[in-house]
């Protein structure tokens, strides 16, 4: 699969009273065409900001630091002028946000919000755009497309609203869809439907999906690859099956171990002691060190990224070839 989006050395910083905070600190990953990549991490790990950064939507006073590299099909996203950026937004990369209740404009009808996206990116007439909008509404699973078209967001249920957001995102036929916690605000039953919808659309349109989520369980079934984020950095990246079967980073391992299981012997739920540090209190060296059950002497330095083959990479001293790691 060819690379669609390449992210290198992404850093997002915010000014703070005592210097700068960097919630996204050196994130690197690649999304290939048509691939389903999941970006997983706890709240506060920086994954939402990463998603926003891809569209240069970091809210001020935050900013993307120099030295970061974002390339879409080889083109540098950070040097685009405003017109080109406008075309990329929605037209090449689209985003679906977490809470459809507040992310849709309450004073405009749903249909209008889809149509304006279509017409901003193509030369369709009003009638053509409307036809396409209704087709999109049907495609995302909204039965009464015409009814929905004329509705206001508050007249629809949460699940329907999220489908509308997806329809809006699809309107200009993007190559990459970023979904930022698209199901966190929804019921569990609706969650599964939305994820299935995203996957379907992906296969049908050949579109890549970057799913940002805190829920590992959601990821297992659908994602091709998973990247685990901790304290502003990606600590492990691997094809899904491989990650679940043989996690290389202690954090990933602990995350998987703490998932409740239906089968197997009954045991108290495992959790990771302590809490993820905020950008203001990041420890030096490996950021997971204070909570890591397998920390040892080299961990006081920043761990290198080691490739374990088969698309599996990990940022940990335990995997580094020449460290004295206890097996």
């Amino acid at each position: 699969m060819t690379a669609l989006l390449e992210v290198r050395a992404l850093r997002v910083s915010f000014p703070a009273t005592a210097g700068e905070l960097r919630p996204v600190d050196g994130v690197e990953f690649t999304v290939s065409r048509g691939e389903f990549l999941a970006l997983v991490g706890e709240s506060g790990a920086g994954k939402s900001l990463t998603g926003l950064a891809l569209l240069r939507l970091v809210p001020p006073p935050g900013r993307i630091e120099r030295g970061s590299s974002l390339r879409l099909d080889g083109k540098d996203l950070l040097t685009l002028d405003s017109d080109e950026l406008r075309r990329v937004r929605g037209g090449r990369i689209a985003m679906v946000f977490q809470d459809p209740g507040t992310s849709l404009n309450p004073v405009l009808r749903v249909g209008d919000q889809i149509v304006e996206t279509i017409r901003a990116h193509s030369a369709k007439s009003a009638r053509e755009a409307r036809g396409r909008a209704e087709a999109l509404l049907t495609e995302v699973g909204l039965g009464d497309a015409e009814g929905c078209y004329h509705s206001y967001p508050h007249q629809l249920s949460g699940g329907m609203r999220q489908r509308v957001m997806i329809a809006i995102a699809l309107a200009a036929e993007p190559q990459l869809l970023i979904a930022d916690e698209p199901t966190s605000a929804l019921d569990v039953t609706v969650q599964a439907q939305i994820l299935e919808l995203l996957d379907d659309l992906r296969t049908r349109h050949g579109m890549a999906v970057l799913l940002v989520t805190h829920d590992l369980g959601v990821v297992a079934e659908r994602a091709d690859r998973v990247a685990v984020m901790y304290a502003g950095r990606i600590v492990e990246e691997a094809p899904t099956a491989r990650l679940f079967a043989a996690p290389a980073h202690p954090y990933t391992a602990e995350l998987l171990a703490s998932l409740p299981r239906l089968r197997g012997p009954r045991a108290p739920l495992r959790s990771i002691p302590g809490a993820m540090p905020t950008p203001a209190d990041w420890p030096t060296g490996c950021r997971f060190r204070p909570r890591c059950p397998r920390a040892f002497s080299p961990c006081t330095d920043d761990p290198p990224i080691t490739s374990l083959g088969g698309g599996h990479q990990v940022r940990c001293w335990l995997a580094a070839p020449d460290s004295q790691a206890a097996p």
Binding site: S82, R86, G90, T102, S103
Partner: protein, 324 residues
């Protein structure tokens, strides 16, 4: 929904009635003789005074006067002018009202354009130098006395530069001129007073707009609009500004009294034949029925304005279950 409308209208009516009562008793109970002006220049015989008092109904006990007055108001009869020799106040008001509406309406439009433009501009670059300067400008607008600004502008543009006429609404020699020419002439006369009024009221609008817009720009819905790749002006006006309109409606309650108060001075300065000059003249002539009549009208306008603002607010926000 209609039950709410009915209740709200009833509430407005009650407020208006209480206000009218308040105004009546305030005026009547204040020490001072309503007929003083008439008796000032030439002393009248007690008989003449008595007949005058009877004519204007001041000889009755105050409660009777009040009942008469209130029933008159509800019928649309605001009494008779003392200075204009018994002409009904309503007729006087009707004569002058269109001029004031024209002036007020134009001033409101200018105020809106200026205030919204500046407020939105400030909200798009908060904390910048332009933002801070404009804040001070807005406050200065509010701090400027309308009568002073009127005098200054009239002197500069009319008396000195002769660009615009100094006073009145039309040049009398154009009475028989074709409509367009007269309209153009009125417009030329309208410019300075309307500008004066707008310049002293736009500050409040700008401040409100800036605040409402700053809130709207931070909405997640606006972030979505940006993410869709919509042009900047669409994001700004169709998405952000539409959501900023709600809080702006509270301005109606602010504008109307400001405009009305300002008109009294501005009209007087520019000899604009409206309610403001009527009121100013009535003050000088101690024509209490006229002062009262204008006050009642103005209060009605304020109450109506607030009512409209509430109704509009309901209508604009589809979430509140209005007839969208």
């Amino acid at each position: 929904m209609t039950a709410w409308i009915r209740r709200r209208i009833l509430q407005a009516l009650v407020t208006f009635l209480i206000a009218t009562t308040l105004a009546f008793f305030l005026m009547r109970l204040t020490p001072g003789d309503p007929l003083a002006r008439l008796t000032e220049d030439k002393p009248l015989s007690p008989a003449a005074i008595a007949s005058l008092r009877e004519r204007f109904g001041i000889d009755q006990p105050i409660t009777t006067q009040f009942v008469r007055f209130l029933s008159g108001v509800l019928r649309g009869d605001l009494g008779a002018s003392i200075a204009y020799n018994g002409r009904p106040v309503t007729a006087l008001i009707r004569e002058r009202l269109p001029a004031t509406l024209l002036l007020g309406g134009t001033a409101l439009l200018l105020n809106f354009l200026l205030g919204v433009g500046i407020g939105v501009f400030q909200a798009t670059r908060p904390g910048s130098k332009a933002d801070r300067v404009l804040t001070v400008v807005s406050l200065a607008s509010y701090a400027t006395p309308s009568f002073w600004l009127g005098i200054v502008l009239a002197t500069v543009f009319a008396t000195e530069l002769h660009w615009l006429p100094v006073a009145f609404m039309n040049e009398p020699y154009l009475v028989d001129a074709p409509f367009l020419e007269r309209a153009g002439d009125t417009l030329r006369h309208l410019l300075l007073p309307a500008l004066t009024l707008a310049l002293v009221t736009f500050g409040a609008t700008a401040r409100y707009q800036r605040a409402a817009m700053a809130e709207a720009l931070a909405l997640p819905a606006v972030r979505t609009a940006r993410a869709k790749g919509l042009p900047d002006w669409v994001v700004l006006w169709r998405h952000a500004w539409r959501n900023a309109l709600g809080p702006m409606l509270a301005l109606f309650g602010l504008w109307l009294p400001l405009l009305v108060t300002g008109s009294v001075f501005v009209e007087a300065i520019f000899a604009w034949p409206g309610l403001g000059t009527l009121a100013a003249e009535a003050i000088g002539a101690r024509d209490y029925p006229v002062i009262m009549g204008v006050t009642i009208l103005v209060s009605a306008a304020v109450v109506l304005g607030n009512l409209l603002a509430d109704l509009l607010h309901r209508w604009l926000d589809p979430r509140l279950g209005a007839v969208a």
